[in-house]
């Protein structure tokens, strides 16, 4: 593990010296008004319904992706987030050439994914966290030999590449095992390595940390960082783990119900929608908090102020636009003596939760 960490660190240091200047960076991915519709047959429940729909099918058009536009610079790490069923995977599948868009345009490095697919996929790497792309019964080493042939990687580059991937992803321990015997963490590392064998320009990761433990998650993140900085590989990743987003992504695109709802830096998201703060304190005498009555004092709606008392710590979540920290503090201190007190920004998770539940109004 320590070797793993130090390698990543070293790579990061090397990278700082060789980083491309702003001018050399180019827009790599263009997505414009992308739309995808699926036809779905509606069936009445039961066998009778199935038979009826067999003879007289009723179709319904479902729009998975309504109208999405964004672009990505070379070397960027873009987080693609949104609740389940928002259309993230559908967008990724269109960008990787798996699905043909109903309308709209996407262009990656000057190529249109679903046209000239064979040529295009040489330049990208794809990992779907939910299902492996590797061959179930093949030993991992042989898997890479197959991929080497498929991607026409020459012997020398292959050797170098394997050494690098080994270093970053620590494949050595299980490279002789068949894929079916790998643990989820090993399999994910193996999948990521497989997607990088041909040095792609863009790496698509669809939930690369799903179901992994904290340590493995951390390793995978470090590996992604190392690959991004070492080779200036553009990374697009979807995730539900907001730690991934905070650690890796310079920018996020958030989509919901097939439409884009936010596009920008995480810090922008925080400053725009993160007026929510949290004040926590530990009263000297737990009974003294009974004299606090926030509703009466401030008369705010529950979405602007909420409090909770677990017996030891008392916490108040409040909207900073509606009530200042000072006012709140003064009130608390006037009613009770405190042992400890702490005011913090709401974390990204809270903000996103709010957006998903559409508590926070977006105007992006």
């Amino acid at each position: 593990m320590t070797r793993f960490v130090s390698t990543c660190h070293l790579l990061a240091v090397i990278n700082r010296k060789t980083k491309l200047t702003e001018k050399e960076m180019k827009k790599l991915i263009y997505v414009e008004n992308l739309k995808k519709e699926f036809k779905k047959t509606i069936k009445d429940p039961g066998l009778k319904g199935s038979i009826k729909s067999f003879f007289k099918p009723k179709n319904e058009i479902i729009t998975a992706v309504k109208d999405i536009s964004f672009h990505v610079d070379k070397g960027e790490v873009l987080g693609f987030i949104g609740p389940n069923g928002a259309g993230k995977s559908t967008v990724i599948k269109m960008l990787t050439g798996i699905l043909t868009p109903t309308s709209g345009r996407c262009e990656i490095n000057g190529k249109i994914p679903y046209k000239n697919r064979k040529n295009y996929v040489k330049e990208i790497g794809v990992v779907f966290g939910q299902r492996t792309q590797l061959w179930w019964d093949l030993a991992l080493r042989e898997t890479y030999t197959v991929l080497k042939e498929i991607y026409e990687v020459d012997d020398e580059s292959y050797k170098k590449r394997m050494a690098f991937l080994n270093e970053v992803l620590e494949l050595d321990d299980f490279i002789t095992s068949p894929v079916r015997t790998l643990s989820l963490g090993q399999r994910m590392r193996a999948d990521i390595a497989a997607s990088l064998l041909h040095s792609p320009k863009v790496l698509f990761l669809d939930e690369p940390t799903i179901g992994l433990d904290v340590v493995v998650k951390d390793n995978i993140r470090k590996a992604i960082k190392a690959i991004n900085s070492e080779e200036n590989t553009t990374v697009i990743l979807t995730t539900h783990d907001l730690q991934d987003v905070e650690d890796l992504c310079g920018r996020i695109v958030m989509i919901d119900k097939g439409s884009k709802v936010f596009d920008g830096k995480i810090s922008d998201l925080k400053s725009r929608y993160g007026s929510s703060r949290e004040l926590k304190f530990i009263p000297e005498n737990p009974d003294s908090v009974k004299s606090l009555d926030f509703n009466k004092e401030f008369n705010l709606k529950s979405e602007d102020m909420a409090y909770e008392n677990d017996g030891v710590t008392f916490s108040v979540r409040f909207n900073n636009d509606k009530i200042g920290v000072e006012k709140l503090l003064n009130y608390i201190l006037s009613k009770t003596h405190v042992k400890d007190i702490n005011v913090s920004d709401a974390d990204i998770e809270e903000i996103i939760k709010g957006i998903y539940r559409s508590e926070v109004k977006l105007d992006a």
Partner: protein, 269 residues
């Protein structure tokens, strides 16, 4: 030069997967042995019934027992070769598309059809191949065949193209799954028509004969080419027909497959 490199690459990939499937065979011994024994029993029972029939009648529609066995054996060879290399098409019809597993073939810079078929080498087919060759070997001495260089060449041509009649039928029927999500039973229905091709089609009524000659042309995988070798006939029809049918089926199959790939809808994940 480029084509040569491409073919070389294809063979190399085939080799890796074949090696893998042979290894798997050792790992799942019981499964393989059961399959092989079952297959052998099926063939033995079929041959046994044929011999019972022929012990009571001298010939079937003018064909002797030796000739029938030749046709039967001939039929097994292209079927076995198709089975050996293109077995994964069944999986396309039954679950690869339905489960969204087709995604992975689309992210590789090789033809999807090649990527799908290369990854399975169906070792079970060796049984059929063996039985087919044994039956031919047994029947040839009983027959008066004109063994010339030309005929040996035509034999190889016939076997090769007959194989792609099987593949073509499977390709067309499995491609339907791109739209319907599942077409396993459709493949099965059409594929099973090949059972008619093991016997002289002249013994069937007109409707069956028309189906196996022109619609699902399995007659060209066995009866037509085989009868050219045992009783002679017009090679342009008997062997040429096999080539034409095979080319048509494969062309239609590849066309529908490619259309299907663009209609592919994946599955939620």
């Amino acid at each position: 030069m480029k084509l040569l490199r491409k073919t070389h690459r294809m063979f190399k990939l085939h080799r890796i997967f074949i090696k893998q499937d042979l290894k798997k065979l050792m790992e799942y011994k019981i499964d393989f042995l059961t399959g092989a024994v079952g297959m052998l029993l099926t063939q033995i029972i079929n041959i046994f019934f044929l011999s019972v029939i022929f012990s009571n009648i001298p010939d079937l529609d003018g064909y002797t027992f030796g000739q029938i066995i030749f046709i039967y054996g001939f039929a097994l060879i292209p079927k076995a070769i198709d089975h050996l290399f293109f077995d994964n098409l069944w999986a396309i019809g039954y679950f690869i598309i339905r489960k969204g597993d087709f995604d992975k073939y689309l992210t590789r810079p090789v033809s999807t059809l090649f990527a799908v078929t290369v990854e399975k080498f169906q070792v079970d087919a060796f049984g059929e191949l063996l039985v087919g060759i044994l039956l031919l070997g047994w029947s040839i001495p009983q027959l008066t065949l004109n063994i010339s260089a030309l005929n040996i060449f035509l034999f190889i041509i016939a076997i090769f193209f007959a194989t792609f009649i099987y593949t073509g039928v499977k390709l067309i029927t499995s491609s339907i799954a791109f739209w319907t999500k599942r077409s396993g039973h459709i493949i099965y229905m059409f594929y099973m028509i090949n059972d008619f091709a093991k016997y002289p089609t002249t013994i069937y009524n007109k409707a069956v004969r028309a189906v196996v000659t022109y619609i699902v042309p399995f007659a060209f995988t066995a009866f037509f080419p085989a009868s050219y070798f045992i009783i002679g006939g017009n090679p342009w029809y008997n062997i040429g027909g096999t080539v034409v049918m095979s080319v048509i089926l494969m062309a239609v199959g590849i066309f529908i497959w490619n259309k299907g790939v663009t209609a592919y809808e994946s599955a939620g994940s």
